[in-house]
Symmetry: C2
């Protein structure tokens, strides 16, 4: 009989150390491939080649090729929300939006591979990922206005979308031009936010 029916991780049994290591390695090379050559280039053959194993071996550790890139996407998202979340939690409510913008741009500028992976997955993957993107920031904006004793201003959804889009554009520019100062752009964006949104 051939390989097992279910890949490691889909059962209730915990993963062995070597399985964990292989999975991490495959996730890592997949992020690199997607970042450098785009989503379409992350084929089973290329992933296997980059990890110096065979296609069959890849499909032993993951149920399908799609499962590999999904796991890679989840990995970069987890790292992002953990980093940004910690920075936001450490800031006072009225400074939380600024902390969000700063750490979001900082994190993605420090991890360009993750940034590219996220934009590739955003365009290709599930479309209804929009709310998950702007709702947390919209909540931060509402709380900050309240902490400053201001009434409701511009529609928080629109404001959060504008800020999120601006962050994406700054990161995109930084990816193309490593000399572009993304942190300075972040401060400009925060200044705009202060004068226009907390008026």
């Amino acid at each position: 009989m051939g390989g097992r029916r279910t890949a490691p991780g889909t059962e209730d049994r915990p993963l062995s150390f070597i399985e964990r290591k292989r999975r991490d390695q495959l996730i890592e090379v997949t992020i690199g491939l997607v970042a450098e050559h785009g989503y379409a280039a992350a084929s089973l053959a290329r992933i296997a080649q980059a990890a110096e194993i065979t296609k069959g071996a890849v499909l032993y550790h993951f149920a399908s090729k799609d499962a590999v890139v999904t796991a890679a996407h989840a990995h970069v998202l987890d790292a992002l929300v953990a980093d940004v979340g910690a920075a936001v939690d450490a800031a006072p409510p009225d400074q939380a939006p600024a902390a969000y913008v700063r750490r979001m741009i900082g994190h993605l500028a420090e991890h360009p591979d993750h940034a590219r992976m996220i934009v590739e997955a955003t365009v290709h993957g599930d479309r209804p990922a929009s709310e998950a993107r702007w709702k947390p920031l919209a909540a931060l904006l509402r709380n900050a206005r309240e902490a400053r004793g201001l009434g409701p201003g511009t529609d928080p959804r629109t404001l959060a979308l504008i800020i999120g889009g601006a962050i994406d554009a700054i990161i995109g520019e930084r990816l193309q031009d490593p000399d572009y100062d993304a942190q300075a752009a972040a401060e400009s964006l925060i200044a705009m936010l202060e004068t226009a949104a907390f008026a």
Copy 2:
């Protein structure tokens, strides 16, 4: 002997009416396919099926599959720059940035297929398309400041990137939620621009 060596349009001879019509039809169905199912779904077979002809017939009118999607991309871009360009030219210099934002969002909201085609092509196509995106807007911003008798303010490149990213985000939200009022969001963005950039 088989079909001709060069597709119509690659020679110096003008296109016949029927050739022009076929090309337009192929461009149209390609835009629809890319808009609805993504860049990867725009295969020769699907394009041919949607146009109710055969793969061979498609490759008679265009040199390659890539030439079809390139032509489709150029078509939507031409329509966009013509529309926005006319609106900008009709506005006084100090109002040109606002006209740009309004018509850009208006055009893409009115043509969602074009909008989706552009984002797909932007992510997949040539990376160094960045300057072409923000430089024209940066020039409008500089001129507007000058027309209002203001000195140079925030880095025009960063400001243009922020506005461009915000436009993208508003359009993206509008594509997912047809009930989202993109024009109202455009006015909010313009108001932010007035208070923060022309201070």
